[in-house]
Symmetry: C2
Subunit: 338 residues, 2 copies
């Protein structure tokens, strides 16, 4: 197995990415192609103890900034690491691609360079949220705005395959994120998506309210990227506020201060559960080849676990299964299949 | 001051509503008109110790269910407490109206019976979220689906007046809930609303991400009701999961168990901060007369605090100020002003 690692565009720089991927190489058997500036990458490979045959460098001179228009930058910056790496992926030079660069640019590159699975209109960023039941597949996590009901239907199909192949769920329960549990609730998009999902052959369990996201009510939850972003960032914000509020309250009196010292391990566990850096990386479901997006602020550990997730994704043949499922079930034609 | 109290449609029944409102009457000087079945209400008033001159009953035979089509039910069920009460409000028989009934029916009744302030296209359910800075006005909390950019602009104007009049903020900072901080982020609605708000005369501070909702980054946050519902219900769900996770972790060892007993007061304070029953009730901003919606599962204490909020709202002349502001500033014409 050979994977492309984009060394540019991560908040913490080239070294963090390379160190994280090399650590993964110490634990799993695969080859890595580091995409970026050779002068920056090569010194990091030397003395790493990894066999030279397993690593190589694919030269790229620049990166795509968060502030650039993604579709425009992908077409124009031919020497950007994201473009060079995705072209190599599309040309079959490797089995997967991981980047901590701009989400918009990864989405644009996925659509225009790697291209979509036939029948799929949009690729969706897909997270596994922590639940008591071992996790819920959540998509779209924020890559697509103004999705149509048909896109949501496709997300449901892809999410169900992901839950089967990666989380090993049989007959995964698929829910639609909505403002109420009853049919007929929600905006126009949600009501139309409900009708499509109900007609479909999947295991649709109906609407899921945002308060149920972390309660293992479904194996897959689908939503528009705007709502997905709002839900995920609200989780992030609330966990931070709750931790701070509790810490503040605990430091208020000697009694609770002593208690606070004793419960510190519990706080650590909580932080870990909801810490997105521990999630490693998330697949962009819907592209023809495996594309993974790591958090921009990933540390080396997040790059390492993200690399494992990418390897599992390749080994499980998730994309082949999605393509097969789409061919078998068919998809509703999209309104504006670009 | 005289307020109408809808005794029907609350999850916990007539008694909870009447008891809560009577408790408020012991602390504040106002008259209450209880709308509902006289045989159910009158026994509760007797022996309450409240002067008979301050209470009266407005007969209504039925209620509107959550499962009914709101607009249809409002037009058809002439003897529903919500319809009877709102008609009395519209006819000037009282200064305000409080109900724990169906949100959809309250919104429909607000639009069709109480009617809107001239220039306002939609009424928005408005919460004050707890923050270190004393609260952030959040609208729409879930009453309106498929809002237009123009509605969001109107929500911003109304929210700013509410922040000035009720929270006593000078030059309130108005933010737009969006998926990123930069201009140009978001779906079509968010991008167009950004442009309108930037043009407007209000104190627009730009986009606010969902992780910042509870951090006092703005005095007013506006959003579509779908996103608003997702954000609020995610807060509810995360607080519950975090509390359970922490409790579970704490009970895992003797050390943390002892600590847990010591930090219990801090947990109590946290629960109170994020407990929506403590919020009492929320105004439907945009109607010609004060309409307040209490949580369906309100206990007597929530009805009591909700009644105080309604009295403050009337005393502060919020609606007159909104109408004045709309007349002064003008509003963008709505695309489909019904």
């Amino acid at each position: 197995m050979k994977v492309l690692i984009d060394t540019m565009g991560a908040d913490r720089g080239v070294e963090t990415v390379v160190v994280g991927a090399l650590e993964a190489m110490r634990h799993r058997d695969f080859e890595a192609v580091f995409v970026g500036v050779p002068e920056e990458i090569e010194p990091l490979l030397k003395g790493s103890g990894i066999d030279e045959d397993r690593v190589s460098v694919l030269p790229a001179a620049t990166s795509i900034l968060n502030t650039e228009d993604p579709a425009f930058a992908i077409r124009r910056k031919k020497d950007a690491s994201l473009v060079v790496g995705m072209k190599a992926l599309a040309d079959g030079e490797a089995d997967g691609f991981l980047s901590a660069g701009s989400t918009g640019a990864i989405l644009a590159g996925g659509l225009f360079i790697v291209k979509r699975i036939p029948g799929i209109s949009r690729a969706a960023l897909t997270l596994v949220l922590p639940t008591a039941g071992g996790g819920t597949v959540f998509l779209d996590a924020g890559a697509n705005m103004d999705t149509t009901p048909e896109y949501l239907y496709q997300f449901a199909t892809m999410g169900a395959v992901y839950a089967e192949k990666v989380l090993k769920r049989e007959n995964p329960r698929v829910g639609l994120l909505n403002v109420g549990s009853e049919e007929g609730k929600g905006d126009k998009r949600a009501r139309e998506a409900y009708a499509l999902l109900k007609e479909g052959t999947g295991h649709f369990i109906g609407n899921v309210e945002a308060k149920e996201i972390l309660t293992d009510v479904a194996d897959v939850i689908v939503c528009d990227g705007f709502a997905g972003n709002v839900a995920l960032k609200t989780i992030e914000g609330v966990v931070a506020v709750v931790m701070n509020t509790l810490k503040g309250e605990i430091m208020n009196s000697t009694r609770t201060k002593i208690g606070g010292a004793l419960v510190r391990p519990a706080f650590g566990k909580l932080k870990e559960t909801f810490d997105y850096s521990e999630f490693g990386a998330a697949p962009l479901l819907g592209t023809k080849k495996p594309v993974f997006k790591a958090h921009g602020s990933s540390n080396a550990r997040a790059i390492e676990t993200g690399t494992y997730a990418l390897l599992d994704f390749i080994e499980n043949g998730v994309i082949e299964s999605i393509a097969g499922e789409i061919e078998r079930r068919g998809v509703r034609p999209a309104h504006d299949d670009q």
